[in-house]
């Protein structure tokens, strides 16, 4: 049911991934290799960018669904 919801295209997916990375870094940073940390950092920055873009997206869109059945 919740199919394409999980792709990175949505705000939700990006936001939740970001939260996950932050939680990881906050709690387990000492067990991570330097490579991992830097990858996480890079990914976090990307996700922040995606989130901000999604939120800033244009005006509210509304579409009328035609009433023929």
């Amino acid at each position: 049911m919740q199919k394409k919801k999980t792709n990175n295209g949505t705000f939700e997916a990006a936001y939740k991934k970001l939260e996950k990375i932050l939680a990881e870094l906050e709690n387990n940073i000492e067990e991570k290799s330097l490579d991992d940390i830097l990858n996480n950092y890079q990914e976090g920055l990307n996700l922040l960018k995606i989130c901000r873009e999604k939120l800033s997206e244009a005006e509210l869109k509304i579409e009328k669904i035609k009433n023929e059945t």
């Binding site: 049911m1 199919k3 394409k4 919801k5 949505t10 705000f11 939700e12 936001y15 970001l18 939260e19 990375i21 932050l22 870094l25 906050e26 940073i29 000492e30 330097l34 940390i37 830097l38 996480n40 950092y41 976090g44 920055l45 922040l48 989130c51 901000r52 999604k54 939120l55 997206e57 244009a58 005006e59 509210l60 869109k61 509304i62 579409e63 009328k64 669904i65 009433n67 059945t69």
Partner: protein
Amino acid sequence: MHEDLKMELFKDIEEEQPLTVSELTDYVKEILEGNFKSVYVVGEISGFKKAFPSGHSYFVIKDDDSQISCNLWSFRYNQINFKPEDGKRVLIRGSIRLYKLRGTYSIDVATIEEFGLGELQAKFEKLKKKLSEEGLFHEKYKKPLPDFPERIAIITSESGAVIEDFKKVASKRYPSVKLFLYPVMVQGKGSADSICSAIEKANRSQNDYDIIVIARGGGAIEDLWSFNEESVARSVFKSKIPIVSAVGHEIDFTICDFVADLRAPTPSAAAEMILPDSTELFRNLDLSQGNLHKYVKSRLRNLSETLDNIEKSYSFNKPNDIISEFSLRIDEIGDEIFGIISNRLKYLNQNLENTGKHLVNSFRSQNEKIRIYKRNFRELDSRLNHLIKERIKLIRSDINQKNKLLENLNPDTILRRGFTYITKNDIILSRKVNAEIKDYVKIHFSDGEVGAEIHDYN
């Protein structure tokens, strides 16, 4: 009482005495008001007027052929829960009052309610009970709403404030959401069907909605009635997509509200409840960015400090020191082990000592007992000795006495006093008859014997 009145009335007529207008009015008033203290009447409101400043309302209720004036006092007006308007069918309870000044009568309204309302209310309660018993309102069927909905289907009237209100809140809070309007009739014949088919259509749509909102502004119970239809309730329950019901105002509850996954008091409130606030989200993102930098930076600083420390460290530069430190460590370990073992030994020693002490103590107590026995024994012994000695003394004195007695009886003693005895052939001659002439006898003295011959016999 009425009989009395009649009598009085006829009496006056018989006597051909005219009544004054007031008198007649009083009679009529008494009869009328006395007989119609409580009336219950249905009719349609017409000519509704609210008088100022009193706040009392005046209107007539009518049917096709008749009409009656009605007075609704201001304090009662405030107790009714609908707006009395011309054309509304109402149920009135009250009493008949005659207005003397004009000679007209009217109904003094005690309660007024919309006709048919009770019927609708009963229908509502019945359906609510039925669906509740079927479990349609149960918490376990409530679907969770997504935190960040992307696409929302709105089932409401195309015209009117509802969709505008929703749009306004949505564009302020979360403009990235996409709204899809499913225009429906929200009241009147066929409205329930159009709502049901919109719900089904939204569920079948390729748009993959996160939420369906069913909305309508406030209204009287009969205006909101399509949201109390069983068919709508069942469509809402069947929906795979979570449904938010925002029908009417705060105080209006519909069956649709109960079945929906979430009930919002108004359409604007629905938008507030289901959409995140992007201002807040931006703030969160800033905060997240700050944290991201902070965590990574402090870790990197830590790591580089550690590196510095290693590089600068004494041991890193002087391997010999490492070795000597290591051997120190070994010594330390040796000491530790020795310490442990000697402690253990001390402990065992202590145990042994304790056991020994215990044994000695028990010996001591045995000795003590023996000493007591001995003392007791000695006491007994001396007492026994004493008794024996006393006894011996007694026996001795007894013997001495008996000795003396014996000595007195000794023949030697008697002989020493001058007595003698005579034996004949070593047999004591104690009688004369045994002595014969010429017998040789021995005369015994204390200091010896002499032989003699008996020659005189008288």
